[in-house]
């Protein structure tokens, strides 16, 4: 009888076939990558589990009519390519695909168990160079594909390339996992209609309680955030700091950022375990970082929540003032020096350079620009005060004029 219980493990059934059907990454093989792309690493795109449109940004439209394409799929899955007549035929890795004239090629991936499929599109977009100076007003927002939370697009084609997928990123997709019942206006990053200093829409970032699911993974609060780059929701639970990746290639040298801000700290500052910490007042964060986006071996560099102020590839940095310890770490205290209040203020954040910017590298997209805002400056460590609110509007970037 007892043996019967122990021999359960001998009743393991045959392994079920895979149900997933992802394109995990896409790569193209070209002899001289730099003739088409800005970086060698741009020939490979790792595809996030939630994305279904894969965009390669290229220098020129020449030589992309016959690209040997390789799709890395979930094990056992099969890919099909859609032809001009709308028929799908099986796609073999290494086949030549015509990406000329920004043609969007459609692929369908069928899982090994044949029960699931996903449709992707792949496009090679000719990059429109971003202009140096820009102002963004947070006027263009819509609900995401699932209708759960708001997203902000950057529609101006001359600035859109500074934003991966042409969108501002924030922690809303992660909040959705924890709070499935939240209404769109209950998310950490929400629009405020007519709330801006100029009477147009602005953004409210609010530090929110993540509920029981959040405490299940020791992430009891979510700071409202807004940045350019990638929020890798797949790794948000595993390593939240690393999942928040800042910046996009930018061909101008930023001098300063200005932004309209107002701030109301939440009542009780709490640590990661949710325990109140007496005598600490929550603070917002706003910063602009300029960094070299390729290391000595040619690998891509992207700063993330761990090293956005300390990565050795950083060349310039501007940040809202804070009380910091001598070693540069954040000092939690009751005397914030950010200078914000609950009335609108135009804040000037100059970029201070620690290293020279090489004009040649700059012109070839060798530097990335990151801009980021948060309602709790320690929110990456899940510390802050629930209810802290940072309102922001009209982010402007000013760049050096004579570089080209």
């Amino acid at each position: 009888m007892v043996l019967g219980v122990f021999s359960l493990s001998s009743c393991i059934k045959e392994e079920p076939m895979n149900a997933e059907c992802d394109i995990e990454s896409v790569s193209v093989h070209v002899d001289n990558p730099i003739s088409i792309f800005h970086h060698e690493y741009d020939t490979l795109k790792v595809v996030g589990s939630a994305s279904d449109r894969i965009v390669f940004l290229i220098r020129s439209q020449e030589n992309v009519s016959q690209l040997p394409l390789t799709l890395n799929l979930t094990s056992g899955a099969t890919a099909f390519i859609k032809d001009a007549n709308g028929n799908f035929s099986e796609f073999k890795n290494g086949s030549l695909v015509d990406f000329s004239q920004e043609r969007e090629q459609v692929f369908r991936v069928l899982s090994e168990d044949k029960n699931w499929n996903r449709t992707y599109s792949i496009v090679f977009e000719h990059e429109i160079p971003a202009e140096g100076d820009f102002t963004l007003g947070f006027e263009d927002y819509t609900l995401d594909a699932t209708g759960k939370y708001y997203e902000w697009q950057v529609l101006d084609a001359k600035v859109a390339n500074v934003f991966t997928d042409g969108k501002w990123k924030n922690g809303n997709p992660g909040y959705k996992l924890c709070k499935s019942s939240a209404k769109p206006m209950e998310y950490p990053s929400v629009p405020v209609v007519d709330g801006g200093p100029d009477g147009s829409s602005c953004v409210k970032l609010e530090t929110k309680d993540t509920g029981s699911f959040g405490s299940m993974v020791n992430m009891r609060l979510a700071s409202g955030s807004m940045f350019n780059g990638i929020f890798d929701v797949s790794n948000a639970l595993k390593d939240a700091l690393k999942a928040t990746r800042f910046g996009s290639p930018f061909t101008h040298k930023p001098e300063k950022m200005t932004v309209w801000l107002k701030y109301e700290p939440g009542a009780v500052f709490q640590d990661r375990m949710g325990k109140p910490m007496e005598g600490i007042i929550d603070e917002p964060d706003a910063y602009v970082v300029f960094y070299r986006n390729q290391d000595e071996s040619g690998n891509e560099v992207m700063i993330d929540g761990n090293d956005m102020f300390t990565n050795p590839h950083i060349v310039g940095l501007g940040r809202l003032p804070h009380n910091l310890n001598e070693d540069g770490s954040d000092k939690l205290c009751d005397t914030p020096i950010h200078g914000l209040s609950s009335t609108w203020k135009l804040v000037d954040i100059p970029v201070v350079y620690q290293k020279e910017v090489d004009p040649e590298i700059l012109a070839n997209k060798g530097y990335s620009l990151a801009i980021s805002f948060a309602s709790s400056w320690q929110g990456g460590y899940f510390q802050g005060a629930i209810g802290s609110k940072l309102f922001l509007d009209n982010v402007s970037l000013y760049c050096e004029k004579d570089e080209q």
Binding site: M1, V2, G4, V5, F6, L8, S9, C11, I12, K13, E14, E15, P16, N18, A19, E20, C21, D22, S49, A50, S111, W116, N117, R118, P173, L177, C178, K179, S180, S181, A182, G211, S212, F213, M216, V217, N218, V233, S234, N235, A236, L237, K238, D239
Partner: protein, 263 residues
Amino acid sequence: MTNKMKYILAVVALLSATIMQAQDSWEKWGPTRGMKGAGVLVRAGYTIGGTTPLPLPEEIRSINAFSPKGGATIGVDVYKMFCKRWGASMGWHFFYEGFHTSADVKNYKMSLTMDGNTMSGYFTGTDITNTDMWGMTIPILATFRISPRWNLSFGPYFSTYFKKNFSGEVYDNEKGVGYLRVNDPTGEKVNIDRNNPATYDFSDNMFQWNAGMEVGFDWKACKHMNVFAKLDWGMTNIWEPDFDAVAFRMYPIYATIGLAYRY
């Protein structure tokens, strides 16, 4: 006499001795008063087993660890014999039983609801479970005397729990694979690793009652002492009827060995 003859004689002698003993033992090992008497048994035993889906669903890829926590049963049975071989008994047992398990799963459908928020999808990785149950069982059994010293009993039992626990955590397996696909296998992939596992607690979703079949053997070791072994095989799902976080029904299957005092 050949060796063969000697051997046969010896066997016959032994057999007749056994039969002789058996014949007068029906009285000796019977109930305390006559063949149709009634009596009381006080039992104490060591319980081990587990709570498991049956058969194992294909989503369970391997069982890395399965360690029953030592459980215990104490209780009383009253019995009544109707004739030489047949009787009935009814008991009142208190028990503690539990187990710990670690299993690798693939596309294991799960759904968690807390405070009105739901997280559901398909999990691939390692699932650790701890179960504990404190409760009371009432077995209602037919008893059959196979021989003077051997009793077989079988019949339904009904259990209720005083305290129950079914909790655990999920994280990546030894290959570093641990993720949830949100809603369905094409949904967002959320990686979960052992440094920050996701914990769950379904204790409150366990059904208050359980019923199943019990089969037991008693051996009368001496005048007042039985050695017994029994198996309680749960036939009703351990989950509340509307609970769907675990996609399959699970059944408690626990065995007990112990000693009983016969009055």
